[in-house]
Symmetry: C5
Subunit: 327 residues, 5 copies
């Protein structure tokens, strides 16, 4: 799907400019054209990007392929920017990164993405609802897009934080193999997030610091603000990484601790009963005659009591082990 | 709550300047105005910050939101500084970081915080008690604030140090699961502290090194002094981090060591008794006749002695294991 | 084998130039000569490289020996470049790096390799099929070679990714010693790949950034494109390294977890049966007379049932353990 | 204690200059004054430092408090240097760092320390014994002090090296919990030493590289020599850190190895005896009649032999286990 | 031993110049003097170095003491270089580093070492055999020395590589405590080698890059070649370090794996036999009368079969365990 927003230099607003009129709109140096390509086939978008806008074939190639590394390429007449949006599937503990390619010129912004991105939708509809959002120029539109993209990172980070707290409770409570799998899933998400935030931060740093003709020098402070936001996100994410690394260590230590306790009890039991079992066996040997009168030891009441003890002992032991969470 | 201190260029001191008079006070270029916002609602402080002081909306946004990353933003007419105070809850082993936002101009300092910070209180009341503290100008007030904030870090670091020593004693004494939980709590506190100290150090480095019109070049040496203090705190904190990392390793090694000892004893017991228990069972088989006369072995005294041994053996073993801290 | 392609400045194309004519071809400053040495003996290639082309002895030495470290040496009249191709033996999980030495001059490119490299073959035959590929000059031929070489890295990285996914399934399924060996093989491949990609990236960075007289300034953007590709590959490879490191940790944790479970069951069994076995032994002693009448307990039916239980109990236990994957 | 050495420009040497004459001595621009404060109360040394020498209050504060971080502060008229001496308590495996504060001016050097430092004593007495040592000027005295301080590091490093070798022998011999405690003590000493050497190196680097008016440019080569010495010490210390880290790994591996052996033997014993013990029990059941004549198996000689075996078997097993270092 | 080679500016070659003639030879600005000090007492070499050559006392001190850190000190009239040769004792897995101190002037080179170094011998004898080697000047001699020194590193690295392969085979075959000791020895050698290669690389980098009057600018390319060689060696050594680190991890994992298997079997055996042993004991109690006729179970043939089973069972179990490498 190709869709376009166009505001002429006279402030006339046009919501659905057909592709044939892009070339004309570009000639209007004080106008603003936003073209959004959503999941378009290459034979449909490539000609527009190459011929109408005159982008370099290498930049267009990068845009059409999903490369997933945020970067800024300065092509002098325009800037080519790769951004990433994130979607977090909370139950599956899975992070998806969606690529957004942006070409920014003086009087136009071209966005290209294979899957719908909610941040782009929000900015698009806010422009439609209120023309004021397009008055800041192309660089302000880029700022709005970047700001919306980055705003979606915080809830992801917060969900991961909550998940880590749950994990910690499980570890000191009743750790099992599922806890372990959960830890490793979270670890992967945090690593994935890092690979999104870290180059995004570099992109924003360049937009805030470098001198691009299509970004007003006074507007750089907005990109610096988003940059600061990303620095903070990166720090939080690093701290989450530390916490997950710590969780794994805790897990292993708790397991080791438990095993130590189990071994102690096994050794205690064995040490208590093995010697006296041997003694019992010793006097059970046929060297001895059943010579001495010990009627009370071998009467019916003793038998019944013994049976009861034999039923009660393992039952109590089992109950005790359940309570102590051994079995 | 909004409160303000004002010293005119003529040295007249006014303790409770109402917000309406801020604009006039700002015109007095050699005066000194300190406005402190404590937990004010946004609709109350935002207008003052934006209109009366004329701060940039992005800076005001940063101040009103709690962002928790110390930084210095140079807005040419003023500097926006984010600082952090710490509060350590010793029994719960929990570190709280409190944000303090500062706007520093030539003749004013504006502080904004959501929760009361003891360091701010102390500087405020020392100004009230003794006007001399306001004679150094706005940059001296900033120095006083920063110095008080940083002075509160050392007791925290010392408490952590004491806690680590206790932990080490426990590990080589009687390590258990609570020791482990304590180690991980301390680890988190040290990581948290690091994320406070490290950017604070960078902030002080910039205040001591960079050229800001509102900071007298001769006063930079004071900020360098606080910077040196923070470098030292950072080093101590890193060493605490090493020690805690080492504590966890020690814990695991001691546990492993213990388990090894337990296993050796279990194996020893089993090796001693299993063969002779088998022999006892062998001669207990009914292939043999109770043919030979061995009356002394099967008499009443032997029975009594056997009973006593059967009671004494596990009792002694249990007492020995207690003494050796097995069970 | 020595083979040569030659296009004169007039566009005349000659596919198999004999070595004797190299010197003459080099005088044609607007022509293009590509000489490819494949597994030639030193006494055959060294004279051509040293005398005909006039390369420095140190550079020729580097080319004739296999050194396996990508680099760029600027010899002013020409550039000496070491590149690496990779071949991945998927079943054996083994990565082979093949060295390709390139001398790039204004009107010639000399490639030297000991083993056939498929990327070189592809570029060679595309030049033969279509003379258009030689019209871009020597630097475009270098770009074509580099692009083909780097294009072969991605399938390797993808195969490793698939292998890691399989490993993770095995770990949470049924981990054994072969899983471990596989993890370590993958680890080594990823380390090897890193040692190829990392310096290759540096080579491309220099080709894209530095000013060489034999590389047209407008063509540097192509090398930057390959450089971006390598940056991405490096990032993916680093993430694979993290995942493999995580796999080893998972493996150890799962094994530890399993051992803990096994120990718990051993302890449970021992705790349940040792006390009652002792009791049985106690009453088996010859102190007691078979005095009381308990005929029903010692009749034939009881014997048969006991036998059946003795056969059934271990059979069921074994079946249960099989199902639980203990044995 | 305050003590002072004074050499006038005419070479007249005075060993015990009273504090009242310091001011006059300082006016002698080609003389040399060394004032040494040893454990003086603040109300005694502060006035001299602040008023007589005119040092900045911040520098004097740093000197009077023990801060333990080597650094160089350039106060233009003088340099304030914090140095560290070390004392190693070999039996307790404990490293003490002693702070030495130095103020270096053109014609004076002021040293301040809370505890006696042997390096300072040695330089002091060599000056007293031989006036030649004071002829090099204040910077040469500083060099002599620094050189002596650093010379004391090497024996410490060597003692640690010897201790590590002992540890390694213990690990492959008979590792126990004390070995572990020793490893962690050594680890802490090496970390402490690193925190001394690393900033000391930086101090010497600055003294050797930067341009201070009170250090003759030709004398910088001496500080560079001490700097090289510290670089080497740092390298050796890092290698010791690696070795100790390796020792801990070895310890854990050896323990794990031992535990594995123990487990194998436990399993071997259990596997050998459990089945036949069951068989013995099986035929000990009262289903069977003592029907068949097997007199030779149940005679007195068999009983005696059995008794002897029952005594000999565990004795030999115990002796064997002792020899194999199990118990 | 002091020995000297001297080539006059007229190309006259003198093999054994006595020390008395050094001063005169040095005046010959286009000649070349090589003096080699091998294990000379300080009172013999110090005067020559200090007086005849006029080296700085600090440089001479460094040369006479063994400091073992490669470095380059520029003394303007000459360069002082510390180099390291290595000797690898393959059976003992021990690396020895031999220090070679070099003073390089325009028309002389002075080498000083405490132990004979084979690389120096080789260069010395090649100079004696063929005067051509001395025609390149002092810097070429230095190149020849450095090249020979570095050429000896590769066989060491290759031996370590072979040793690591052997280790890996042992680990997946039959790991024991000796394997562990071998891993740690190799780890130490690789660390030692790193501490040789890394500063050597830096020395060569400086010789190849910096501007020294006694090194012809055109000859720097030779030092760059050795530098590239050292970069490669460093990379290979780092990869060996990774492999050894991986070996230790493998070792621990394999041991853990084995222990897990052993525990499973112990638990299996215990689970199979403990219940039925209890049953046997139960019916062995004297509550029961040997009342029912079961003659066939208690006859002589049954006894013989039982005896055979009792001998066969542990024998077979032991054989099986041997085959499975348990004992």
């Amino acid at each position: 799907m190709i869709r376009a927003l166009y505001r002429t230099q006279d402030g006339v607003f046009q919501a659905d400019l057909p592709p044939e009129k892009f070339a004309q709109a570009l000639k209007d140096e004080r106008g603003l054209l936003w073209v959004d390509f959503v999941d378009t086939p290459p034979d449909m978008d490539a000609p527009i990007l190459l011929d109408t806008f005159g982008f370099h074939p290498l930049a267009v190639d990068d845009a059409l392929q999903e490369t997933h590394v945020p970067k800024v390429d300065d092509w002098y007449q325009y800037v080519y920017i790769v951004l990433l949006a994130v979607e977090f599937d909370s139950p599956a503990v899975d992070l998806k990164a969606l690529e957004l390619d942006v070409f920014l010129g003086r009087n136009y912004i071209v966005t290209h993405h294979d899957r719908p991105i909610s941040a782009v939708e929000r900015v698009w509809w806010s422009c439609l609802r209120n023309e004021r959002h397009t008055q800041g120029g192309a660089d302000h539109l880029l700022y709005a897009l970047v700001d919306e993209l980055v705003a979606q990172f915080m809830p992801v980070v917060e969900k991961i934080d909550v998940a880590i707290d749950l994990i910690e409770d499980q570890i000191f409570g009743r750790p099992d193999s599922a806890t372990l799998a959960q830890i490793f899933k979270l670890k992967r998400v945090v690593l994935d997030l890092r690979r999104v935030i870290s180059p995004m931060r570099e992109v924003l740093n360049r937009l805030a610091r470098d001198d691009y003709p299509m970004i007003d020098a006074r507007d750089r402070v907005y990109f610096r603000d988003v940059y600061d936001h990303l620095v903070r996100l990166h720090d939080i994410n690093e701290s989450l990484r530390d916490l997950i690394g710590g969780s794994l260590d805790t897990y292993l230590s708790v397991i080791n601790n438990n095993m130590n306790d189990v071994m102690k009890r096994l050794t205690a039991i064995t040490t208590l009963f093995m010697p006296i079992s041997f003694l019992a066996g010793f006097f059970g040997m046929n060297f001895f005659q059943p010579a001495i009168p010990l009627d009370i030891w071998t009467g019916l009441p003793a038998f019944v009591i013994t049976l009861l003890v034999m039923i009660a002992a393992p039952t109590l032991a089992f109950w005790w082990m359940r309570r102590s969470r051994w079995v």
